[in-house]
């Protein structure tokens, strides 16, 4: 594992309690809050309201920026507030772009299987974040963007064999990390 990866690993493990200044703690706490809720918010915007991914991302960040500017608006459960906000913002987006009013006017409770799925997705994303940059690039382009192996190999200045070797090593590392994180989470 490279030095850079270990740094990143350490950063990921550093919870708010290990940080010294209030600013560092606030930054870490915000990140924690963000990753706890943002995937579900994007899920609601994209899957429930059909908001395009880039717009959904913008909406989520705008909601968090508003929350930071005025956290006192949240009474009680932050998740309820954030879900209400994404529901509302997505509805506005749809109204603005499609002039179409969605049927439901109030946020629906999130099904447990969606929550479980998003938790697993976050774990896989944490795995990806801990891999070397070239591992991530190769896995993203081949698995998520469905680029041809030859194209990916060429742009990464590798032979096809070297790319597949890289992918195989990265998968092995990813699986080991996933097992560690997933088992850690269930332990």
């Amino acid at each position: 594992m490279s030095e850079r990866t270990e740094d990143r690993d350490a950063d990921l493990k550093a919870g708010p309690g290990l940080l010294t200044s209030s600013a560092e703690r606030a930054g870490a706490a915000f990140r924690e809050t963000y990753f706890q809720h943002a995937p579900l918010m994007r899920h609601v915007a994209m899957r429930r309201f059909g908001v395009p991914p880039s717009a959904a991302e913008d909406i989520v960040h705008d909601i968090f920026a508003s929350y930071l500017a005025n956290p006192s608006v949240v009474r009680g459960d932050l998740r309820t507030y954030l879900l209400g906000a994404i529901w509302n913002a997505s509805r506005q987006y749809r109204r603005k772009h499609d002039r179409e009013e969605p049927l439901d006017s109030a946020p629906e409770p999130v099904a447990p299987d969606v929550s479980d799925r998003l938790a697993t997705q976050l774990t896989v994303a944490r795995v990806l974040a801990q891999l070397r940059p070239e591992c991530r690039e190769a896995l993203t382009r081949v698995h998520a963007e469905n680029e041809k192996g030859t194209d990916v190999a060429a742009s990464m200045r590798r032979s096809c064999d070297a790319l597949y070797q890289l992918l195989s090593n990265c998968r092995r590392q990813a699986r080991a990390l996933f097992q560690k994180l997933a088992r850690g989470a269930t332990a």
Partner: protein, 442 residues
């Protein structure tokens, strides 16, 4: 299940729809677990969303990094502001005596946030301090430039400061001034497209101010808009607060039956949510509403329920209010015992320092005495009220109303309608201290 799971079964496990047998096998079989891990990785690696999250986790998202930096700045600013403002918050009179607003070091968003929090915390108990603090928060918020690092969040901050000023003015009974502040808050929030919750909160505040200043139609209109937003956001706590104000507004307007309908729906909500305090408060409201309609049985049940819950929750003063309701009912069943029960209620109010309630109980007692033929005692009581409540620090309009009662007692001209007139006024002036007393036209 002893044999390994096939790929279809494993895929179902990954999707969360695996059978109990397959799940049991998985717990015992390392090979199948590894296969499930592989399939899970395949599934999520193929989802672009996973890569987006990974990018954000590794610090590659500009927007997230901006927000993290903002969170850090806010914490730094708040910490500094708390330190700098400590002497001012310990003694808010310093705001007036110093060059606080002219000092550049205080012109930060952190100062506004810390002042807003302090104003909010003091609003109920020390409204004058809250108003001084909120005035400064609003002035500083307005002085922050539009190119602030908060971006459009600066309008949210200004809206918050004006809202807190409105709350403080409301707590001081300055409803018109409070409504002006709330208008300013709405204007600021109006500049942020997504600030619908903030606007609903301010409209709720406006609804309370309209209601207490007896502008009932305006109150109900803005409360309806707020209520819809709270419901759409599943913000049930604010929705309930809003409904309580709607119920109170209808009750004050004289739509008792409609108020009962609202409160009954809220009582059902409180019951299903196991919210005993809310249920007790609503039951108490229902008691008064049924009492007003002469529905003695329903009133008794509601007051008893409220009383039992308040006692169980250790809310002594609120339990005393339910006992007062029961004493009023006792008057209808047995005048003599009712007078005695009201006397006990009056002692309780005095003991707990419940001055406003004590005024109303005194008038209920005077009315019951008159009905029971205890005229001399009633006159004595009415003559003593002005002196007693002046000593308790009561406001002028209420004292003028009690003075009117005293004059009637001195002239031996006390009637139930005079007592009723004064009682109605006192009840209104408790909600709206800006009212002026005018004696009834003879």
């Amino acid at each position: 299940m002893s044999a390994h799971c096939d790929d279809r079964e494993l895929a179902r496990i990954v999707e969360g729809t695996g059978t109990a047998d397959a799940e049991a096998h998985l717990r015992a079989c390392e090979a199948c677990r590894e296969r499930v891990d592989d399939l899970t990785l395949d599934l999520f690696l193929a989802d672009p969303e996973t890569h987006l999250i990974a990018e954000e986790l590794s610090g590659g998202s500009t927007r997230l990094n901006e927000n993290v930096r903002t969170a850090q700045l806010l914490a730094e600013e708040d910490e500094e502001a708390e330190e700098r403002l400590r002497p001012y918050l310990l003694n808010p009179a310093r705001f007036g005596r110093s060059t606080f607003l002219r000092s550049r070091q205080h012109r930060t968003a952190g100062t506004v946030r810390v002042l807003c929090r302090a104003a909010n915390q003091r609003c109920e108990q020390r409204p004058l301090e809250a108003r001084i603090i909120a005035d400064n928060a609003a002035a500083i918020a307005d002085s922050l430039t539009a190119d602030h690092y908060l971006g459009s969040g600066i309008y949210l901050l200004r809206g918050l400061a004006w809202k807190e000023q409105g709350n403080a003015r409301h707590a001081l009974g300055q409803f018109d001034a409070a409504l002006d502040s709330f208008e300013r808050a709405l204007r600021e929030y109006g500049r942020v497209e997504g600030a619908t919750l903030e606007r609903a909160i301010v409209n709720y505040c406006r609804g309370r101010a309209f209601s207490q200043s007896e502008r009932f139609d305006e109150a109900l209109a803005v409360l309806a808009a707020s209520e819809a937003e709270f419901l759409a956001r599943r913000d049930m706590s604010r929705y309930v607060d809003c409904q309580l104000v709607v119920g109170n507004t209808l009750f004050r307007r004289g739509d008792t039956a409609e108020a009962i309908r609202i409160w009954q729906a809220l009582a059902a909500h409180a019951e299903s949510g196991d919210d005993a305090l809310l249920l007790a408060r609503i039951s108490n409201n229902l008691g008064w509403a049924h009492l007003g309609l002469g529905e003695w049985i329903a009133a008794t049940a509601a007051f008893r329920r409220a009383h039992a819950e308040f006692v169980r929750l250790g809310k002594d003063t609120q339990a005393a209010r339910s006992r007062w309701g029961l004493a009023r009912l006792q008057v209808e069943a047995d005048l003599g015992r009712g007078v005695e029960a009201l006397r006990q209620s009056l002692h309780e109010c005095e003991r707990y320092g419940m001055t406003d309630d004590a005024m109303l109980v005194s008038l209920d007692l005077a009315d019951a005495m008159l009905r029971a033929g205890q005229t001399a005692e009633c006159h004595r009581l009415c003559k003593s009220l002005v002196r007693y409540f002046r000593r308790a620090g009561l406001q002028n309009a209420a004292l003028r109303a009690l003075e009117h009662l005293r004059t009637a007692a001195l002239r031996k001209a006390l009637t139930r309608s005079v007592i009723g007139f004064v009682r109605d006024f006192i009840e209104r002036v408790i909600a709206n201290p800006s009212l002026r007393f005018s004696p009834p036209v003879a």
